[in-house]
């Protein structure tokens, strides 16, 4: 069954449609840390901010490099962590009246 499934691309970053094959190719090209993998592939850069894919990516990278997952340096977390609407940063008078 595993072989059958591998015929299809396995998406590990659902926000940006990054597949396991994309990751393996990038690692082979020399992107062997999470920050540069993220930027090369846009993995973890979508609305979920890596909640789903980064743990998977850590395991994949650790296996490839023969390291323990705990030895992989985590990427930087940027605010606001969870995507929030920009109107939350405006005063109520600037926001009102435009919502359709």
């Amino acid at each position: 069954m595993g072989g059958e499934m591998r015929k299809h691309p396995t998406i590990i970053c659902r926000c940006n449609d990054v597949t396991i094959e994309d990751v393996e190719r990038a690692i082979n090209e020399g992107y062997t840390d999470l920050e540069s993998l993220r930027k090369r592939l846009r993995i973890g850069m979508g609305p979920c901010q890596g909640r789903t894919c980064i743990p998977l990516l850590i395991r994949l990278l650790a296996r490839k490099l023969g390291k323990k997952p705990t030895e992989i340096t985590l990427p930087v977390t940027r605010p606001p962590v969870v995507p929030i609407p920009l109107e939350l940063f405006l005063k109520s008078k600037d926001v009102g009246g435009e919502r359709k």
């Binding site: 090369r40 850069m45 609305p47 606001p80 920009l86 109107e87 435009e98």
Partner: protein, 385 residues
């Protein structure tokens, strides 16, 4: 370890210099970076590229750089590795009459140097940027030669091409200091041992000043934190990078090739603040400025907010070329926020300095470190994007 040429700094400048030197047949080039490639100001930039500046030096250099961006994006150069130059232009919006007058003067300067900018009406602005609410605009300056290039595709292309030409790249290798003696730089001391070289190039961005201090050369650079954010992605909405000239802090917005909007505005900052020191007041300031022109922006979400340094020189122009104290070291730093767009011409200038003794663009020769000692500073007053 001993190499022919050691380039300290694996940002866009260091890679462009390495690539240009290697293309001229130079062997045994090593690029070292303290972190991953593009981890400094390069990877934090807004990716805009333009020639519409306010000094002859900048306009000429950027015009040359744009020609090189176009050439590099061809399949036979770096296009085959994914480098794209999207010539979507820049528009600067004026909401004051005096700014319109200034734009007319700038257009004369640009046109005289071969950059075809022009002043456009609010109606034309609306054609260039359909989702804008342009009623408060008096006019806009349109630079059709400007554009953008996605930074990590560009870095990837340079890395591939450099490696193909035999350039070696060492990441996660911080250079702690340089060692000099007898009027020459001898070695760079790194965490992975000492590296000797015949020629050194310092393209170390925000680390350049400290590195040069280790051999007693003072370069007058300040690292100014600049704040920037990115939203979730949407289908392509408009091509140009849009700047509000009159808002203070020159807020700007650009849509990336993935569809995200990058939005930024300068806020008052102290130099040398750590890159992690985010400021909650940045977000209301940037959002309110952009919501004036793009009311729909209030409904979209911010994904990330980060800080990058404008490595700024006293006259906001780069510092290029040799230093008086040592015969075998060259500087390529202090771009004051424009290192990414300058990178192709930076490679050309430094390569020519090394191999031909002087750069072929005469304006570049005015940009050595010596100008600060001699008081020949260059005037520039449009330092954004």
């Amino acid at each position: 370890m001993k190499v022919n040429i050691l380039i300290v700094g694996g940002g866009i400048s260091g890679l462009s210099i390495a690539y240009t030197l290697a293309k001229r047949g130079i062997k045994d080039i090593l690029v070292v970076d303290a972190n991953y490639i593009g981890s400094g100001s390069t990877g934090r930039c807004a990716t805009g590229i333009r020639a519409s500046f306010t000094s002859e030096e900048h306009v000429v250099l950027m015009k040359n750089s744009i020609e090189l961006w176009k050439k590099l994006s061809q399949p036979e150069e770096l296009g085959k590795y994914g480098l794209q130059f999207d010539q979507g232009g820049y528009v600067w919006i004026a909401s004051k009459e005096e700014s319109v007058e200034l734009f007319k003067k700038l257009v004369n300067l640009h046109n005289s140097l071969g950059v075809p900018t022009r002043v456009v009406s609010p109606e034309e602005l609306k054609e260039l940027v359909p989702p804008i609410r342009a009623d408060e605009a008096k006019a806009a300056l349109h630079d059709p030669t400007a554009g953008k290039s996605y930074v990590f595709d560009t870095l990837h292309a340079y890395i591939k091409a450099c490696k193909e030409l035999g350039v070696r790249i060492m990441t996660f290798t911080p250079v702690r200091k340089l060692v000099a003696g007898g009027g020459k730089v001898k070695a760079a001391v790194t965490d992975k041992g000492s590296i000797e070289a015949d020629t050194f190039i310092v393209a170390a961005g925000s680390g350049s000043k400290k590195l040069m201090e280790s051999i007693g050369v003072d370069i007058p650079l300040k690292n100014l934190p600049r704040h920037i954010m990115i939203t979730e992605a949407f289908k392509p909405a408009f091509k140009p990078l849009v700047i509000d000239w009159d808002a203070g802090g020159a807020p700007y917005i650009v849509q990336t090739k993935e569809g995200n909007f990058i939005i930024a505005r300068e806020i008052e900052e102290e130099p040398e603040q750590p890159l992690g020191s985010v400021r909650i007041d940045f977000l209301p300031k940037v959002v309110s400025a952009m919501a004036k022109w793009f009311p729909w922006i209030k409904r979209i979400r911010v994904l990330r907010y980060w800080i990058g340094y404008y490595v700024t020189s006293p006259d906001h122009h780069p510092i290029y070329g040799p230093v008086d104290e040592y015969e075998n070291i060259y500087l390529a730093c202090g771009y004051s926020g424009h290192g990414y767009m300058l990178a192709p011409v930076t490679g050309k200038i430094i390569t020519e300095w090394l191999l031909d003794g002087r750069p072929s663009i005469p304006q570049a020769e005015r940009l050595t470190l010596r100008r600060f000692k001699e008081g020949r500073l260059i005037e520039e007053f449009a330092i954004v994007g």
